[in-house]
Amino acid sequence: MKIPTAHYDRQRDDSQAMTPLIDVVFLLLIFFVCASTDQVRESLLPTELAAGSIESPATNPGPRPLGEAWVRVRAGDGDGDGGGGRGGTGPRIEVEGRSFTGPNRHQLLSEFLKTLATAAPELPVILDIDPEVPLGEALAAYDAARAADFDAIHFAVDPATTSGAPPATAP
């Protein structure tokens, strides 16, 4: 009688081939679940500053615009979040003799600036932001000016508080 001394276990080899794949898939699943927890994707509000050597308008060879649109953002006594304008009157925004307050001040400012940009996009917009205004409110005004698609947006800087040249943006 011939006694078999060995046999081939093909079926076991085939089933073992799936083990690393399952391991890797589950490990990747766990990794992405862990990595996506508590992650808030930040976006970017780009700002192109002009270097400090261009603060003199006399050296600008281009045609001078007829005027300037000053956007003055004043600190208020309402909410200070500057994000949604919930609660209180919040800061006050003044543009060309108009004053925007209340929760929908950003929307009103955006609509007014878009109307202004349609008529005169070459008009330089100067953001005069009160030092006590929250950053969220300042960026909301800057965002409204960018959305209106003006040619140039400048930040006014108080030389008393900062001993440097005023930065300017040129989107």
Partner: protein, 139 residues
């Protein structure tokens, strides 16, 4: 009577399963550890909410991330720094900034007064760094 036999595999087989397990576990460990370390140095701030945002992050060779927390403290690399230290950092990076390869990103809390951020913009302009960006959240 059944005689027990010895299982023989076809050819030479190398079981790579433990190796793959260990390697991937190490990879995931280092990724999670580096993520935790980075999160630890990222100070929690409430970013401003704006409508017009840029989702794709432009790739620049050099970048300085300045975090302005609600208590108006300036953080760079997880450490509290002064404006003078940031100014010196910007002065060192001005050479790279001349070629447009340097960016300053300001992660400012939305409640912080503008006077805490304004000197940063002035310092960037004086150092010749024109590319700055604010970390924001879309509405």
């Amino acid at each position: 009577m059944r005689i027990p036999t010895r299982v023989r595999r076809l050819g030479i087989s190398l079981d790579l399963t433990p190796l793959i397990d260990i390697v991937f576990l190490l990879v995931i460990f280092f990724l999670v550890a580096s993520h935790a370390a980075r999160s630890e140095s990222t100070e929690p701030v409430q970013l401003p909410l704006v409508g017009e945002v840029q989702h794709e992050q432009p790739s620049v060779p050099g970048r300085l991330v300045v975090t302005v927390t609600a208590d108006q403290a300036l953080h760079v690399g997880g450490r509290i720094v002064t404006l003078e230290q940031i100014t010196s950092l910007l002065a060192e990076a001005s050479a790279a900034a001349n070629s447009g390869g340097y960016e300053v990103r300001i992660r400012g809390d939305r409640r912080v007064p503008f006077r805490a951020v304004e000197p940063l913009m002035v310092a960037c302009a004086q150092a010749g760094i024109t590319r700055i960006g604010y970390a924001v959240l879309p509405h």
